[in-house]
């Protein structure tokens, strides 16, 4: 019996849900960014699993994951820069105190 794709898809779903929970409930914005990274990693795992065990196995899934990783790196760099600038201005990185646009 060859290996199936179900375990990988289930693991991806579990990691995505944990990341989503973290992104919804964490207060520190650095941790929200980290949870989003976890969700992106779950997506990458699905893409790589389909590139080997999918209906049409091809290396294209791995290419998608590579581009995904590059976009995630850019996102983290800009996010951390925004957080540092915000900390310099307001002295906080808590997501619930970022309400300057409210009034």
């Amino acid at each position: 019996m060859s290996e199936t794709i179900m375990p990988y898809l289930t693991l991806g779903a579990i990691l995505f849900c944990i990341g989503l929970y973290g992104a919804l409930t964490k207060r520190n914005a650095v941790l929200v960014l980290l949870s989003i990274e976890l969700m992106l990693n779950a997506v990458n795992l699905n893409l790589v699993a389909f590139s080997k065990l999918g209906v049409l196995p091809s290396v294209k899934g791995q290419l998608f994951s590579l581009f995904n990783i590059a976009v995630a790196a850019a996102e983290v760099a800009v996010g951390i820069a925004i957080l540092i600038a915000l900390f310099r201005h307001k002295g906080t990185v808590n997501a619930d105190e970022m309400n300057m646009l409210k009034k």
Binding site: Y8, A13, I18, N41, L45, V55, A74, V78
Partner: protein
């Protein structure tokens, strides 16, 4: 049931998958439940590393190396820098109310139920086994023959993003 389990664990690749999946989920759960922020980042690094192991299991060696270099190396270190430069003694107190947490948990569990149901009921015809070739060579050929324009665009995106990050984080002149 027990026979299935025995058959599952008689295969070496399945055991490796089980161990890596356990580490990935454990790292993610600990990332959610630790109270010190630095500990959370370290356990996220465990998750990223075990995902790299899973990529090796899926014959994606180049991607595993990239995962270790970029995620476990660069992104984790960048997160730790971000924490050190802001406020690192802080413990992450859940200021969001109990009801908020419970609502988020219910929503996430519903999403997981839907995903799990869809995954279990999807029919994937078994893939024909492809011969293992040189993974890195194949990716290089694909990138530089078929996908040159996306590759150049992603390099442009990275350059612009990093220049923008430097410009945002730079101390402003008085």
């Amino acid at each position: 049931m027990l026979d299935n389990l025995a058959a599952f664990f008689s295969n070496g690749a399945n055991i490796v998958f089980f161990v890596f999946a356990l580490f990935a989920i454990g790292g993610a759960i600990f990332m959610i439940s630790f109270t010190k922020v630095v500990h959370m980042v370290v356990s996220a690094a465990v998750t990223f590393l075990s995902l790299a192991g899973l990529y090796v299991l899926l014959n994606a060696e180049f991607l595993a190396a990239a995962q270790v270099l970029i995620y476990a190396g660069a992104i984790t270190i960048l997160m730790i820098f971000g924490i050190m430069m802001t406020r690192h003694q802080d413990e992450d107190k859940p200021s969001v109310g109990r009801s908020h947490q419970v609502l988020a948990l219910i929503g996430v569990l519903c999403l997981f139920g839907i995903l799990f149901y869809a995954v279990q009921h999807a029919m994937f015809p078994p893939a024909e086994a492809t011969a293992a070739e040189d993974n890195t060579l194949e990716i290089g050929k694909r990138i530089f023959h078929d996908h040159v324009i996306p590759f150049e665009l992603i390099s442009l995106l990275l350059t612009v993003a990093f220049v923008g990050a430097v410009a945002i984080a730079k101390r402003e002149e008085e």
